[in-house]
């Protein structure tokens, strides 16, 4: 089982990181929708995204997006948090997703060929009030 990249320190760590990350992503099939999603997320790793934004940016239907996000979150590649206070009164709080450190590394590995051609997201998304 995957035991985390921090099990080894020293010169051999980088190859091990790549191998363990690849093992990790092998739990999921690397489909084009997943590549598209990771490309969007890794385009601005510090950004927080909510589902509808990701649907629009990655052109993914909700039926594809949410299972992928759930799976990525389960594997610790994506983290989510609830919006503390909605910017507009009366609007329900949204759930925002962000890549974790491991997620950024895996996403870069998986989307390396795709990122060379994919356009960057137009606007930087963010938590309440910035979307």
């Amino acid at each position: 089982l995957y035991s985390g990249p921090q099990t080894l320190t020293g010169p051999g760590r980088l190859p091990l990181l790549i191998v363990t990350d690849i093992c990790r992503i092998r739990r999921m099939r690397v489909t084009r929708p997943l590549q598209r999603l990771l490309t969007i997320l890794v385009g601005d790793p510090a950004a927080h995204w909510y589902g509808y934004q990701l649907m629009k940016s990655a052109s993914l239907p909700s039926g594809t997006l949410y299972p992928m996000l759930a799976r990525l979150e389960e594997q610790g590649l994506v983290t989510s948090q609830w919006e503390p206070a909605p910017a507009e009164a009366g609007r329900p709080p949204r759930r925002y997703y962000q890549l974790t450190g491991d997620g950024v590394r895996v996403a870069r590995e998986v989307t390396r060929p795709a990122r060379q051609t994919a356009p960057r997201p137009a606007a930087r998304p963010g938590l309440a009030g910035q979307s």
Partner: protein, 255 residues
């Protein structure tokens, strides 16, 4: 009640319905999330009102699929029973079509006095029989189960790729197109035998429909043959059976 409210109510209902599939631990959170997303869609000022409504419905219909996928354990495929049902439905359809074509052939045989009319009816009759036969063939071969996705895996090996359903959808579309075209061909072909004005136009239309139907059937048969060849190819190239004690890697956790 405004149109937007009606759409929101329908979408809310669909989302709540999807929530029933989810386990107790995650249901509330997911429903909250999806409801918030629905609000975001309905408040999206960047698109027209009509598109907002359409997107909201599409979103809430999509979360039903999401809920199904999220409750399925990783690595598992769509239940086999679906394919069995599809095969059974295809076989029943084939039987019904053959029966209908036999009855139609019997009923319209006396009316087909002219050579053109007889040819059109015969064409339609043969088309329906061929359609039924190819449906059975498709169901038996299971097109969806023998074609696989290509080039989307990071590494080869561990887990079999999920089966591709697109050929089955194309086959279904071609099948329905064939049935519809040939039915229209039969009706217009029969009508062209009567003394209606514009007789020749009807006959041309019937012929065109007959040709369209046959083209769809040719596509179906082509797909079935391609599936058969692919299946045989896979069988021929299949590696020898694993020794006793070797477990399948389907659904296993990676190392």
């Amino acid at each position: 009640m405004t149109g937007q409210k009606r759409v929101q109510r329908l979408a809310d209902w669909l989302i709540r319905r999807s929530g029933r599939r989810l386990p107790d631990g995650t249901r509330e959170e997911r429903l909250r999330e999806w409801t918030a997303e629905l609000t975001a869609i309905l408040d999206d000022a960047g698109i027209t009102r009509l598109r907002r409504k359409a997107r909201a419905i599409r979103f809430s219909a999509g979360v039903q699929r999401a809920a199904r996928r999220m409750t399925r354990s990783p690595g598992t495929q769509r239940p086999r029973v679906f394919t069995v049902r599809a095969a059974a439905a295809a076989a029943v359809t084939a039987v019904v079509l053959v029966t209908i074509s036999l009855v139609l052939g019997y009923v319209f045989a006396p009316a087909a006095e002219s050579a053109t009319g007889a040819a059109v009816i015969l064409l339609a009759f043969l088309g329906i029989v061929a359609g039924a036969a190819s449906t059975v063939l498709l169901a038996a071969l299971g097109v969806a189960r023998v074609t696989r996705r290509r080039g989307e895996r990071l590494t080869a090996g561990a887990r079999p790729a999920r089966l591709r359903t697109r050929p089955a959808r194309v086959a279904a579309a071609a099948f329905f197109a064939a049935v519809i075209s040939l039915t229209i061909a039969i009706i217009t072909g029969t009508a062209s035998q009567a003394n209606f004005p514009g007789n020749s136009a009807l006959a041309w239309f019937a012929t065109a429909m007959g040709i369209t139907g046959l083209a769809c059937l040719a596509l179906l048969i082509g797909m079935a043959l391609a599936a058969a060849v692919t299946r045989l190819w896979h069988l021929a190239r299949r590696p020898p059976a694993a020794p006793t004690g070797h477990r399948s890697t389907v659904g296993q956790q990676p190392h």
